[in-house]
Symmetry: C2
Subunit: 225 residues, 2 copies
């Protein structure tokens, strides 16, 4: 595909995503999209086979971005927790920078043509499995706790995907800040370190310290002249 | 409202939620709903003012369940982390047991009449703030780490809300199991305890232990006959 054609194609998808995002898929017509772009419907057909083709392309493009990033990160020589960090960072960034694409991707699954929907489901499943592999690697290497990997994948992706529902790209929170806060929460959880919570542990440490002090005083008095 | 009327009303909402869930809001007609229930469209109108009224009732009912549970838990004398546990448990259970209601609630926000949508947004905001208060309480009491409360609320709710996308109520995972795994992840995070991760800490503990062993051997040899 030549560059100009590629650029027009992207403009069409962006305009369609914005409109579908605003009005819903069913309420958006090809006429709306063409009018919004100042194009004729006929030239729109030069790029996509109807509205379904546009929806399919938006989903394919979005899924493609997720998959390519994950593959690249998974292939890198980084340790598993660092890989997971990058995946979360990329995921948050993608949701924020391509919000209308993501909104259409997540909200209009039911509108996809059946055959295409099945293909998408397979790709999503591969993505989930890819993230699951990172978690499993981390558990094997002892960096992550023994968690049920599949459930944690769903929890993780739920957290980051849900961003499209509430996060305002024009708001005060940038991708960097959100990803950092989410990663801190993902990695370390909510509870304050056990040591501060478990008075028992603290008491035992204190007792040990007192014992050492008493012992060293005793030693000092023994060796006194 | 008398009991029979109440029961019919609930049957209508359930049937409508199931159909909307399957076909989307726009594609579902009042005729479909009436036919599905074996009722006339006229008697349907005896309960709801059109399709919008049904969608509004499904959303209101769902939001009401969330809010009532949160209020009840918040009023209880439990410590904040225990309150949060109950909120997560209830939330997971609600998504699993009322899946079509929840799917309609989350997917058809854009189809709600504007005035009603604003009222719903206010109620959602109150719910978010209620969960945020629990987190803040936990931080104040030192049970939770110093996290950004609003972001953690969104992360938490994203995790549990996303369930409607993937969790099959007929599948092997029950609400209890999912809630337990999610809570463990929420509370303790992914990373294995620092002590196992930080070779430095482990080395220092080991050195301390060796020192103690050496000391006690020394003491034993001194006091030998």
């Amino acid at each position: 595909m030549n560059l100009k054609r590629q650029a027009v194609r992207e403009r069409i998808l962006q305009a369609a995503a914005d409109l579908i995002c605003e009005r819903g898929y069913r309420a958006t017509t090809l006429d709306d999209i063409a009018r919004h772009l100042g194009m004729s419907k006929a030239s729109l057909y030069g790029y996509f086979v109807g509205k379904d083709g546009i929806l399919a392309a938006i989903s394919q493009e979005t899924m493609g971005r997720f998959s390519r990033a994950l593959q690249e990160i998974a292939r890198s020589p980084l340790p598993p927790h660092e890989k997971l960090r990058r995946v979360v960072h990329h995921h948050v960034e993608l949701v924020l920078t391509h919000r209308s694409f993501l909104t259409v991707f997540f909200s209009e699954e039911a509108s996809l043509p059946a055959r295409f929907a099945r293909a998408m489901a397979r790709q999503k499943d591969r993505y989930d499995k890819g993230v699951e592999k990172l978690i499993q690697e981390g558990i094997r290497q002892g960096v992550f706790r023994e968690v049920p990997p599949r459930l944690v994948v769903y929890a993780l992706l739920g957290m980051v995907n849900w961003l499209y529902k509430w996060c305002d790209p024009a708001g005060p929170l940038g991708a960097e800040e959100i990803a950092r806060a989410y990663l801190d929460f993902i990695e370390r959880g909510l509870l304050a370190p056990k040591a501060f919570q478990e008075p028992q542990l603290r008491r035992r440490l204190l007792r040990l310290r007192r014992e050492m002090d008493a012992l060293s005083q005793l030693l000092a008095s023994h060796s006194a002249p």
